[in-house]
Symmetry: C2
Subunit: 233 residues, 2 copies
DNA sequence: CACCCGCTATGACGCCGGTCATAGGGAGCC
DNA sequence: GGCTCCCTATGACCGGCGTCATAGCGGGTG
């Protein structure tokens, strides 16, 4: 991919808009593309934050491994989204691992030019602050949901959220344009594979969900929304 | 309180260090002190973010009310800490309510001068970004804990965290220099009052905790730490 | 082809912790 | 003093969901 393409790609993300062309080109020149197969780790929890990442294609999950062996998925990121950025500007180790959920290409920019950019361009810092703020709110949503909602509600809410961010409208319903294992969904909602499988089986049977070659289709978004809002049935 | 005292107080918080004296004095001149009795709401979820707050004395909890009636405490803030700041710089309504847990005095600064300050001083935005980043990490910790740890572990971890931030070493152990109801502790850890009371009763009996006129004393921090790390017993 | 691995699927069992009920004590107030 | 809140405390019950076990299937690999 040419440096021009990389620059155009970077500009799509809000954190880089508003920066002069030459700055973006400078970053693009330092950027490295990297392909990862499904399940590969891009970095591990505790690694020094040497790179600022963007998802080029595919999906990346930000994961914590607990000592009991259970994993927790903190975020799921698709094309165009930034990760590892908070650790870079804070100059701290990555607080969680990043793992590809499917064959994925990422773009990585070394930490130093990003930090230097932050010194020169307040607009970049401001956009980063806004991005972190959005993530903080979404993390608070997760806390709330884990603290008060039963598993079924949390799962429905997770599907609705994914559909809103990346769903493709079809006449059967909204399709999630990528595959997520039930294990990943379980790790995103703080439950177990078995429970997730049971609930999905029921939803598939009852016409709330359909399967399109491994992709989930939300065939009755209305009812799923009600479940996500905590209304039984 | 004089404007000088207010300025000195503001300077104690990292988000205002590094700002020229005249800027701080400008904020101090616009600041208003406000006293709240225990349980009073300082603002409600959804209110327009008109003020940037700091805790002068006492404690403030950031709370979400779920439709099932259960509350979730997202953060507990003591003297010197900022709240409502993220909503102000994002120009969005407060995403949760703020409530005094005891008689509390807050300092509030109108949103506009804070936003204007952010335009003029990148250092302020940078400090805000770092603060939000720290809170994001702590929110991720909460998510992880709620997703994988049993109630007893979460409660022990909450006590250890509070002790680290505000504990006063005494010869009996570490004392938390303020009173929190079991209900608040329950809301911080995603459980119920009854369960919290049961566990605390046991800990009081077994010498892990003591009661000093309503204040909790961590008399066996070692064992509590082990519980917080998930080791049974 | 046979093998293995990752994933989905389903049943049986049991426990953690939530729900409901009841009681008692301390602080503030008329 | 007596009343009302708020908080702490404890027992009984039971259900959601985690744990363990087993099985089947599809796809990639030697």
């Amino acid at each position: 991919m040419s440096a021009k393409d990389v620059a155009a790609f970077l500009r799509q993300n809000a954190v880089f808009t508003g920066l002069p062309a030459r700055e973006i080109e400078g970053l693009a020149a330092a950027a490295v593309e990297e392909a990862h197969p499904a399940r590969a780790y891009i970095f591990m929890e505790g690694d020094p934050a040497g790179w600022f990442y963007l998802v080029r294609s595919g999906h990346v999950k930000i994961v914590r491994h607990s000592k009991t062996g259970k994993d927790v998925v903190l975020e799921l990121l698709g094309a165009g989204e930034v990760f590892g950025g908070v650790a870079v500007i804070e100059k701290r180790p990555y607080p969680a691992a990043a793992q590809a959920t499917e064959p994925t290409v990422v773009l990585k920019i070394p930490a130093e030019p990003v930090i230097a950019l932050a010194e020169r361009h307040p607009a970049f810092v401001k956009e980063m602050a806004l991005m972190i703020g959005r993530r903080l709110r979404s993390a608070h949503d997760s806390v709330t949901s884990l603290a008060v909602d039963p598993v079924e509600t949390r799962l429905a809410a997770a599907l609705i959220r994914l559909a809103e961010r990346e769903g493709a409208r079809g006449r059967e319903g909204v399709t999630l344009p990528f595959h997520l294992t039930r294990q990943s969904l379980a790790d995103m909602t703080g439950t177990t594979v078995e429970t997730t499988i049971r609930i999905f089986s029921r939803w598939l049977k009852n016409g709330l969900l359909a399967d399109d070659g491994g992709r989930l289709v939300l065939t009755d978004r209305e009812r799923l929304s009600r479940l996500a809002d905590g209304e039984a049935q």
